[in-house]
Symmetry: C2
C-alpha cells in the first residue's frame, strides 16, 4: 500500500492565513485501477490564487471544502501505471493538490518533455504562471512599441515574464516590487526600464515620475494601494488585464473614502478597458506559448528565478510568506 | 448683420450645476466667407456628457473654457452659403454649441435627409445618443439570446434604445428608471421585460429578483448606488460598457466604505470586462446604424420619446433638470 502525505484545509481563514488553517494527514491510497496511474510528487507549486480557494465566495472556481486537500499543481513521476498512455518513469504535471502521492486517470495532466529544464519550470515560467503572463499580456494588454507597461510583483513568476515580454514587444517596462534587492534584480537581470519599491513613502510620486508618458497597460496582480497609484496615470485607451489582487486577499472592507466612483470616472473619461481573466480561458495558447517562451529562454531574452523550499510540511508557512511577498521568485516546494 | 444669441459657461460648477454657472450673450456674427455657411438653429440637444465639459478635469475632451459657448449639437437650417457643398434651406446637424446662429466651414457637420422624421430625431434616436446605444451595446456588450441586459435611465435616449436593441437580439431587457410613470412606459411601450424604480427603498432586492439568472450585460450610464446594486449580480464573463456616470457628475468624494476593492474582486473572480467608451470611437458604424435603426422604427420595433422645451433661454434649467432625471425622453430645446 502507498501512503500519501497531504495538507488539508482545516478551517477557513478569517483575515490573514494562519498555520491553524492547515492540517497534515496521511492516507493510504487504494490500489491503482485500470485506466489509472500513480504519481509520486517531486514539486508542489504555490500560487496566490490558492488563497481565493480557501474562502467560500462566488468565484470562477469552487472553494476547497473544509477538510479537503488544498488545491494545487504538482510535478511528479509516474510510479505505477495501468493507463495505456502513461509509462512508469514519465514526468507529468497536473492539479493533484498538496500531497506527496496521488492516483489519477490523466484528466488535466500534461507530460513534460525535455523543454522543461529544470523540471520545476513546468509550474513556473513554462507553466501556469508563465501562460498567465503571456496570454493576459498579449491577448488583453496588447502592448505596442513605445507604450508603457506597468506590473507589480515584478520579480514573481507572472510579473517578471510580463515585464520581459513587454520589452520583447518594444514597450517600456516599469516594475513594482518590495525592497531594494528585488528592485535591483529586476533592473539588472530582467531588464526592466524602471523599478519602484512599493514600500517607499513616496511610492506614488516615484511611479508617476517613472511613467512620464502615462501608463498604457497595467497588468493587475495586486490591487489595493498600488492600483490607487496607477489609476490617475492611465492613458486614453489603456488596458488593464486583472489577473490577481494579492494585496486584498486577506482584506477586511476598507473604511474611509469610496474610491470606486473616481475609478469609474477614469474608466469612462479615458476609454479604459479592464478585464478579469483566468488562465484556463487561454489554454489553447499553450503550444505557441511553450514554443515561444522556451525559445526566448534559450536566446537569453527571458530569465527566471525560483524560490524552492524543502519539504511538503513547510508548504503552509511558505505559502503564508508568499502572500506577504517574502518569496523571491517563483515559490516551489520540493516534496521529500 | 446676424446676431447670435448664445449661452456661455459663466463659472465652473462646484457640486450641482446652478443657473449662475450660465450666462446669455448676444454677439454679432462676422460676414460669411468663401467656404463657409450660416446655420440658423432649430433644435439644441441637451446631453449628460455636457456636464463633464463644465469641469476642468483630464478627459477625452477639452473642457469648455470659462466664458466660452457651451458645447452641444444643433439641428439647423442653412440660411446663407458660400460653401459649394451646402445650399440655402438644407437641414444640417453638428456641434455648433448652445446658440441660435453660427457660421461653419462644414467640419463635423452632417446633412439630414428624409429619414430624420421628425427632424429632432437627428440628435436623439437617430443621432449621437442612438449611435452610442447601438455601438456600445453591440460592439462591447455583445448581447446573446437568452442573456440578461440591464440599463438605467431606461426611458432616456440611450437607455431606451439599449433595451429595445437587446430585445431585438433575443436578450432579456431589465430597465431602471425613476418613478412609476417612466417604469410603466418602458414596460408597456418599449417592451422591457422588467422595470425597477431606483427610488424604491428595496431597489437592490427588486433588481436581484428581476435578474434570476444574473446579469450578462450592464450598460453603465449612471454609476453610484445603481452600480453598487448591479456588481454582485454580474455573471461570469459579463460585459460592462461604461458610457456615462450621471449619478456621480456632481459628486463630492463619498465617505464610508471603499467599494473599489470589492468591485475589483468581482471583475477578477468573474472574468468581467469593463470598458469606457465615447461614441466618436464608433463613428464609422453610423451608416449601418442609420439604416438599421430607421428600419426598426419603420417596423415598430423601436419607439422613442422626446421631451422638448421651448426657447434657448430655458436650456440651462432644462439641462439641470435632466441631470436630476426630471426629463421624460430625449431632452431637446426648440430654439425660437
Amino acid at each position: 500500500m502507498v501512503t500519501s502525505r497531504r495538507i488539508v484545509l482545516a478551517a477557513r481563514p478569517e483575515g490573514a492565513v494562519q498555520l491553524s488553517n492547515f492540517r497534515t494527514e496521511e492516507v493510504e491510497l487504494p490500489p491503482v485501477q485500470d485506466g489509472q496511474f500513480l504519481v509520486g510528487g517531486n514539486f508542489l507549486s504555490l500560487d496566490p490564487y490558492m488563497r481565493g480557494r480557501m474562502d467560500d465566495r462566488k468565484s470562477y472556481a469552487a472553494p476547497v471544502p473544509v477538510g479537503g486537500v488544498m488545491e494545487g499543481e504538482i510535478i511528479g513521476t509516474v510510479l505505477e501505471s495501468r493507463h495505456p498512455g502513461y509509462s512508469v518513469g514519465e514526468k507529468v504535471a497536473g492539479r493533484l493538490g498538496w500531497q506527496s502521492h496521488a492516483i489519477t486517470d490523466g484528466a488535466g495532466m500534461v507530460k513534460l518533455d525535455d523543454r522543461f529544464k529544470p523540471l520545476s519550470t513546468a509550474v513556473g515560467v513554462l507553466g501556469m504562471p508563465g501562460l498567465t503572463a503571456y496570454s493576459g499580456l498579449l491577448t488583453l494588454g496588447k502592448p505596442k512599441p513605445g507604450e508603457t507597461v506597468v506590473v507589480a510583483a515584478a520579480t514573481g513568476p507572472v510579473g517578471s515574464l510580463v515585464g520581459q515580454i513587454a520589452k520583447i514587444y518594444g514597450a517600456r517596462a516599469v516594475g513594482i516590487a518590495g525592497g531594494p534587492e528585488k528592485c535591483a534584480y529586476a533592473l539588472e537581470e530582467l531588464g526592466f526600464d524602471a523599478m519602484i519599491d512599493h514600500r517607499s513613502p513616496t511610492f506614488a510620486q516615484e511611479l508617476a515620475a517613472a511613467c512620464p508618458n502615462g501608463i498604457d497597460v497595467y497588468f493587475e496582480l495586486v490591487g489595493g494601494a498600488i492600483l490607487q497609484a496607477v489609476l490617475p496615470l492611465l492613458n486614453n485607451f489603456a488596458r488593464v488585464p486583472v489577473c490577481g489582487l494579492i494585496a486584498q486577499y486577506d482584506g477586511a472592507p476598507s473604511e474611509g473614502v469610496d474610491n470606486l466612483p473616481a475609478a469609474m470616472r477614469i474608466v469612462l473619461s479615458r476609454s479604459v478597458m479592464m478585464r478579469g481573466f483566468i488562465v484556463g480561458e487561454y489554454w489553447d495558447q499553450r503550444p505557441k506559448f511553450l514554443d515561444e517562451v522556451s525559445q526566448w529562454i534559450a536566446e537569453g531574452k527571458v530569465k527566471f528565478r525560483e524560490d524552492i523550499v524543502q519539504g511538503l510540511d513547510n508548504a503552509p508557512e511558505a505559502f503564508m510568506g508568499m502572500l506577504k511577498g517574502k518569496n523571491f521568485g517563483k515559490m516551489v516546494v520540493a516534496i521529500d
